[in-house]
């Protein structure tokens, strides 16, 4: 699965999109243009992200019941989210019975304050941390830095981003936009590695050696969670490096930040999700480590912070609540032509790619009002999503909502009205695709060659294959084995 560590390293500087200040709109197009201008980075990113998508396809091929699993996963999440209050209470009661401390955080500030207090009460100064997008969402690292704590990322990609003072660009592979020359530069400046050596094995080993003493010295470890199980009061963490297990098992204090939407009812539900998560993400049958934490280790202490931060409100939105089903596999990003060519940093947000387009505007409609336009609406994201979120339809819905709210300029609002006639319902969208032969030829020019879609200036989308659209193929080949369409 690895590319060989060949000689063709680049000296091209890494593109660094400017992050707009508070209250400003993210200019995705500008970031994307900048990324595409760094041609070696752009090509490498496109290739690597697409390779993950291809490995996903190969893995899915080996599971005949894949579509059934997607249905089950979607149904479990629908069930959990329509009974979320009950399952959260059950989860809390069981976790407490197992000796875990449970805290509730209404928003990011609450989360950061609660963890800060836990650390103060326990005399914690040095913390090892495992990747958690929720902590990113809460601005936790910046908060703790300002409060004078040493926070050490233990996931390699996340550590690279931390040492480079940059945000993660992808939910699964946070430093995928960087080339090994960039990593070599960062490590030679911060970890004293040989600036002339950009071998991935050397760099990884160098980081292992540098991080180990910090892990042994840490006063507390933090993780996120992929799933929380109401039936046991336990939570599940999936990693490939073993960093979450080091974070949770080496220090005596373990704090886990968990979004309230992560709770599922039963242990047996894990069979469905674990079978799909890593196959969707990287194409491997499972992550190297899948850990189930149900109580503190002997002599240890475990805290869970259940974080809302807008989730309970999103649950009330008829069109967008199902985005809460997301299990953060990243498959939609890997398949998205816009993400592959614009790089995650151009989104200027914690969540990037198609999942970002449907999550970010609900966090800050004005700041992220451009993001729902960073899509071709080709539906590829929807087709790979293991929990069957209608991602591309939600992206289009966001365009309409933001236009009605006057969050987007009127030029875009008026062209939306035209596109709306076609795109408003999945059915007419599909019909349009078929008769027009190609999505690109049908969609109004603004959708593709608008300067906001910078990637479109460089590449075209492929034509619709002769045998028709994906939906034609799907209806023909899969309709008997799996129900078409979601249950919402």
């Amino acid at each position: 699965m690895a590319s060989d560590n060949g000689a063709n390293a680049t000296s091209e500087a890494q593109p660094r999109p400017a992050k707009p200040g508070a209250g400003k709109r993210v200019d995705h197009a500008a970031g994307a243009r900048q990324f595409l201008a760094a041609t070696e980075h752009a090509e490498s990113h496109d290739e690597r992200v697409w390779a993950m998508r291809q490995r996903r396809d190969a893995a899915v091929e080996t599971i005949p019941e894949w579509e059934e699993l997607r249905d089950l996963a979607s149904q479990i999440k629908t069930h959990a989210l329509t009974h979320l209050d009950e399952y959260l209470e059950q989860f809390e009661a069981n976790a407490k019975a197992n000796g875990i401390h449970v805290h509730w955080a209404a928003d990011a500030a609450d989360h950061n304050r609660i963890v800060h207090e836990i650390f103060q009460e326990n005399g914690v100064q040095r913390v090892i941390k495992s990747k958690s997008m929720l902590m990113e969402e809460c601005g936790f690292r910046q908060y703790m830095d300002a409060a004078g704590f040493d926070m050490i990322e233990t996931d390699l990609g996340e550590r690279i981003q931390q040492l480079d003072d940059e945000d993660p660009s992808h939910v699964v592979v946070p430093a995928v936009h960087k080339m090994r020359s960039d990593v070599s530069q960062v490590f030679s400046k911060t970890l004293d590695s040989d600036p002339g050596n950009d071998d991935a094995h050397y760099l990884t080993e160098h980081q292992r050696q540098a991080t180990r003493p910090l892990i042994l010295d840490a006063d507390a470890g933090m993780t996120g969670a992929n799933f929380a199980i109401a039936e046991t009061g336990g939570f599940v963490v999936c990693t490939n490096e073993g960093n979450a297990d080091l974070s949770a098992n080496v220090p005596n204090l373990h704090v886990a930040s968990i979004g309230i939407e992560k709770v599922v009812p039963r242990v047996e539900d894990m069979g469905v999700f674990i079978r799909m998560l890593s196959r969707s993400a990287l194409g491997s049958p499972i992550t190297q480590y899948t850990s189930h934490f149900r109580g503190p280790k002997p002599g240890g202490e475990t805290h869970i912070v259940l974080v809302d931060n807008g989730r309970s409100e999103r649950l009330g939105s008829e069109k967008f609540w199902s985005a809460l089903k997301c299990i953060r596999c990243g498959a939609c990003m890997n398949t998205c032509p816009v993400f592959r060519r614009s790089g995650g940093l151009s989104y200027g947000a914690t969540y990037t790619g198609p999942l970002g387009l449907i999550l970010d505007p609900s966090i800050d409609a004005r700041r992220y009002s451009n993001l729902p336009f960073a899509s071709t609406l080709n539906g590829s994201c929807t087709n790979v999503c293991p929990v069957k979120i209608n991602i591309h339809e939600q992206i289009f819905e966001w365009r309409k909502v933001l236009a009605e709210d006057k969050q987007v300029p009127w030029t875009k609002r008026s062209s939306l009205a035209a596109a709306g006639r076609v795109l408003a319902s999945p059915k007419s969208y599909r019909a349009a695709l078929k008769t027009a032969h190609s999505a690109l030829h049908y969609l109004p020019d603004w959708a593709i060659y608008n300067r906001l879609n910078a990637w479109g200036q460089v590449r075209d989308l492929p034509d619709v294959p002769a045998e028709g659209t994906f939906h034609d193929w799907y209806r023909k080949h899969r309709l008997n084995t799996a129900e078409a369409g979601d249950n919402e």
Binding site: H79, T82, I160, V173, M179, G242, A248, H292
Partner: protein, 210 residues
């Protein structure tokens, strides 16, 4: 406590106005071999794909000798083997009083797996087999004894066991620690163990407390 009440109230007010039923989860394992040898072969194939190694004991070999053979050039005169397995004396045992720092110098940890999963090539441990959870990540290499009769077909079957309801910590290890975070190049031994070797060995002494 008010955040708790507020969040639950908001969920009650906002949750969708219908109730989705919880689906039954099928086993999906009709297509798996019923024959133990074939299931074992499936396990080995999946495990090797994830970077693990499988070492069969030779007929005239003691288990200790198999383990040493399996480790090959990963051992030298100064290596420290920590054994959690009664049948095999290592250089030391892992005991409950061990701290993470005291396990820092372990080169090889010898562990018994609770069971294996053929679909993914995973071995499962709980805190009973690990004694100190951190040893499975701080050691440089792991050698794992697995009773071949304890291989289940797939993850659905794995999750029908009650380990997750009784143990405080349950983990699937599937090959060694790995990363591909630098230009997609696969590197084994990112943070946790550098190698994982599985040796089939019938369990004669059930783990106490397990």
């Amino acid at each position: 406590m008010s955040a708790r009440a507020d969040i639950l109230a908001a969920i009650r007010a906002n949750k969708p106005g219908f109730s989705g039923p919880a689906p039954d989860i099928p086993n999906h394992d009709d297509g798996y071999p019923c024959d133990a040898a074939d299931l074992r072969a499936l396990f080995v194939g999946a495990m090797e794909q994830m970077g693990g190694a499988w070492v069969e004991p030779a007929s005239d070999e003691t288990l200790t000798a198999t383990v040493h053979r399996a480790l090959g050039d990963r051992l030298d005169a100064g290596s420290c083997i920590a054994s959690n397995i009664a049948e095999i004396p290592g250089d030391r045992r892992v005991c409950e009083a061990d701290t993470s720092a005291s396990l820092n110098d372990v080169d090889v940890a010898l562990l018994r797996a609770r069971f294996g999963v053929a679909e993914t090539g995973s071995v499962c441990f709980t805190e009973h087999e690990l004694v100190v959870n951190a040893v499975a990540y701080l050691a440089q290499h792991l050698v794992v004894l697995l009773d071949p009769s304890e291989i289940v077909t797939n993850l659905h079957r794995a999750y029908q066991r009650d380990d997750y309801k009784t143990a405080r910590y349950t983990v699937f290890h599937t090959g060694p620690s790995a990363t591909a975070d630098i230009e997609g190049v696969l590197v084994r031994g990112a943070q946790g163990v550098r190698s994982l070797t599985v040796v089939p060995a019938v369990d004669q002494a059930p783990t106490p407390g397990g």
